[in-house]
């Protein structure tokens, strides 16, 4: 039986690949795929050929050789006898450390500025606008350099703290009861020490302080108990209408055990002391680190402020009015009504700011802070001549860091997302 509406069957023509919408998207995909694979094949082929021409091989054995250089800032034990692999690890930890502190500080500062920019106070609002415009429109490298120049130029040299034998006076004096010395190289702060410490477990990575572990355990336990206390108070309030007084119990639970532990361990602070050329005994926080951290923080905070402001503005005015109608004060309206809703607008772009900050931390080399780029991608690369390996490894590590950050933030984002029922 023949149907009249049958399309004339002309068979398959090649032009259908482009003009027929049934095939077009497939064609495009195949072409793009081939181009991408071809591009990659070309790159790899090129690399292999060039390596061959230079007579170089591709191997990561250098990571197990002695590094031979020293690193100024290190979070885990490292000497010039350690391997290049360990130098890389030291650099990686430095990267993570400055990025973490940078993200935390930039978030706090960014939220404050973003909220204040919406302030009804004309002067405050304008001041925050000026902050945002200045910091986000000048490259972050300049801010880092400015911060370092500021720290080196306005602060005294360590030698200025030396007491002159004749006059009995020093040109500069330490702050906070002789505990802190700000110099043009670093800020010397007291170190924490325990007279009756528990020692440390040696691991290949770094010694883990048992004192620290004990303190962390106690603090976590305290927080858990405090939560139970508050939950209990809520229950009482709901059933009886009266809220039992908890603040002093909370204080006691939160701080009591920790303080008791510190006393038991013989916790005390050792102030830094000027010996020879430099301060020793305490902890020296290098200006390179502070400058990098400050630069990254101030710059990224400007972007975060804008994100926060956008997030708040995205919440309709009706929400505020409704909250006011319920008798909530402006501050509580912000905390209880606006911010929780704004978060779901804020978090996704916030992730990219965290990623930016982490990647921007590779500008550390400009101030001599040895991060991953400075160790693996700098000195190690240069001393071993393993450009390709070092750069590839560095790219992989940055990629892994970035993916981890965005993965973690996406989980958080899910938790603050509007729950539709």
């Amino acid at each position: 039986m023949a149907t009249a509406s049958d399309a004339p069957n002309q068979g398959f023509r090649l032009s259908q690949l482009i003009y027929d919408t049934r095939y077009r998207s497939l064609t495009i995909q195949v072409v793009v795929f081939i181009l991408v694979m071809g591009g990659m094949a070309w790159l790899i082929d090129n690399t292999v050929q060039n390596l061959q021409q230079l007579g170089k091989d591709f191997n990561f054995g250098f990571l197990f050789n002695r590094a031979g250089y020293d690193i100024g800032q290190q979070l885990i034990p490292y000497t010039n006898d350690s391997t290049h692999g360990r130098a890389m690890l030291v650099g990686l930890l430095n990267t993570l450390w400055v990025s973490l502190l940078g993200c935390v500080a930039a978030t706090v500062l960014g939220i404050v500025i973003g909220v204040l920019r919406l302030s009804n106070n004309w002067l405050v609002g304008r001041l925050m606008t000026v902050y945002v415009e200045i910091f986000r429109n000048i490259p972050v490298l300049l801010w880092i350099l400015v911060a370092l120049a500021f720290l080196t130029e306005v602060t005294p040299a360590p030698a200025a703290y030396r007491v002159n034998a004749e006059t009995g006076e020093a040109q500069a004096s330490m702050l906070l009861f002789d505990n802190v010395a700000i110099t043009n190289r670093y800020t010397a702060v007291p170190a924490a020490e325990f007279t009756r410490g528990l020692g440390a477990i040696e691991t290949p990575l770094a010694p883990i302080s048992l004192n620290f572990l004990a303190l962390a355990a106690v603090v976590i336990a305290s927080i858990w108990f405090n939560r139970r206390l508050v939950a209990n108070a809520n229950k009482v309030q709901e059933t009886t209408g009266f809220r039992p007084v908890t603040w002093w119990k909370s204080l006691l639970i939160l701080f009591g055990p920790a303080i008791a532990l510190l006393v038991a361990l013989g916790f005390h602070l050792v102030p830094p002391e000027l010996k020879g050329f430099n301060f020793t005994g305490g902890v020296n926080v290098s200006n390179a680190f502070v400058a990098l951290w400050l630069g990254l923080t101030l710059y990224t905070a400007a972007f975060i402020a804008e994100i926060v402001r956008a997030g708040i503005l995205a919440i309709s005015k009706g929400q505020t009015e409704a909250a006011f109608a319920l008798g909530l004060r402006p501050k509580r309206t912000m905390n209880l009504v606006i911010l929780p809703q704004a978060l779901r607008v804020i978090v996704p772009p916030l992730i990219s700011q965290y990623l930016n900050l982490t990647k921007n931390s590779s500008l550390a080399i400009a101030v001599g802070y040895l991060d991953l780029r400075g160790t693996l991608g700098g000195i190690t690369l240069n001393q071993t001549g393993r450009e390709l390996e070092a750069i590839l490894l560095m790219m992989l590590i940055y990629l892994a860091i970035s993916l981890t950050i965005s993965g973690a933030m996406n989980v958080y984002n899910k938790s603050v997302k509007l729950k539709e029922r």
């Binding site: 081939i34 071809g38 094949a41 070309w42 082929d45 090129n46 050929q49 021409q53 230079l54 007579g55 170089k56 031979g68 250089y69 020293d70 690193i71 100024g72 010039n80 080196t152 130029e153 040299a157 043009n184 190289r185 010996k275 020879g276 050329f277 430099n278 020793t280 020296n284 200006n287 080399i365 400009a366 001599g368 040895l370 400075g374 700098g378 000195i379 690369l381 240069n382 001393q383 071993t384 001549g385 450009e387």
Partner: protein
């Protein structure tokens, strides 16, 4: 079908890439310009003067090579490189010669695939401190902050030296000499360490050179010399024998003033071969026979270059010391031109 066309193109691209590998000499001649890697600015060794013309001890090597190969000492493109970028610049072909206070070491010569063609300055690593620190020996630097240029041999020597002497120090890593100078002057470090010649040159550029001392200890051997890529021996020979021509010229008393005169022929067959009056030495390295004469005419012989750029009459004021001719008790010794 698509696939075969594509693979064909790929193969063709690979082939042309393989064929494009001409020799460095051919490249330089075709370009009409020598790409010479120098440092980013170290007065006396390589730095642009007030008119933007590069001058200095290392620059003179570039000029001599350009004169020998291209017949014109001004046909040089100076590429400033830092301690970190210099070897990559050479390996990637961005520069043809590296003349940048670079120490000849085993691993650079082998593993990094460079070829050092000789030594144009025998140096060693030293320390500079402020006079008012009252330090008179590097052994008194325990606990000091030391500025150190990254990507250098000096970075490794420093670590070794302090370890061997059971001392500690705080490294302040800098990327270039300019940054090191700035950090040192700002007091971010107590001592600045690098090649002693570099220290002298750096100090000469200070506003108050008299307030800084270079400590007596020399903690390493730093034979500095021009380097080329490993594998192109003809090009390596050209640079090597250009440098040797400058050294031999001083030994035989050939100067920029009398080279024209001497190239008309002399009693000394060695000078005749050096200046191309006799023999066909130039042809053996792919150049003409006058290459030695042109190299010497570029900025004079080794002694003239030394005196004009870093010698005792310049603000840098370096003595010849190890860098005197072997006949004068130094280490400079050119193999014979024959």
């Amino acid at each position: 079908m698509k696939k075969t066309v594509f693979l064909g193109t790929l193969a063709a691209a690979g082939l042309t890439a393989g064929m494009a590998a001409a020799t460095t000499l051919e490249d330089v001649v075709a370009r009409g310009e020598l790409n010479c890697g120098v440092n980013t600015g170290l007065v006396g060794f390589a730095a642009p003067d007030a008119n933007g013309n590069w001058t200095g001890f290392d620059v003179a090597v570039c000029k001599a090579v350009a004169a020998a190969v291209l017949g014109d000492a001004s046909k040089v493109k100076y590429v400033p490189t830092t301690g970190q970028t210099r070897f990559t610049a050479l390996a990637s072909g961005e520069i043809d010669v590296l003349a940048r206070n670079t120490t000849w070491t085993f691993s650079r010569d082998t593993d990094l695939k460079l070829d050092f063609v000789g030594v144009n300055y025998y140096d060693g690593q030293g320390f500079m401190v402020r006079k008012d620190l009252g330090v008179t020996s590097a052994k008194e630097l325990d606990g000091a902050s030391v500025c150190i240029q990254t990507g250098t041999t000096t970075e490794l020597n420093l670590a070794d030296y302090f370890k061997a002497n059971n001392m500690s120090y705080q490294p302040i890593t800098v990327d270039s000499n300019a940054e090191g100078e700035q950090q040192y002057l700002a007091g971010a470090c107590d001592a600045y360490t690098t090649d002693a010649s570099g220290l002298a040159a750096t100090r000469a550029a200070f506003a108050d050179p008299e307030n800084h001392v270079i400590l007596p200890e020399i903690i390493s051997k730093e034979p500095l010399g021009p380097a080329v890529r490993h594998g192109d021996n003809q090009w390596g020979d050209i640079v090597m024998w250009t440098l040797n021509a400058l050294i031999a010229a001083e030994e035989y008393g050939v100067t920029s003033a009398n080279v024209e005169e001497l190239s008309k022929g002399t009693e000394n067959p060695e000078i005749n071969r050096l200046l191309g009056v006799e023999g066909e030495l130039g042809a053996m390295i792919g150049l003409d026979k006058d290459f030695g004469k042109r190299a010497i005419m570029a900025s004079g012989n080794y002694g003239e270059i030394f005196a004009a750029t870093i010698g005792e009459s310049t603000p840098i004021g370096l003595a010849r010391g190890l860098n005197a001719q072997w006949t004068q008790g130094g280490l400079l010794y050119s193999p014979p031109f024959r």
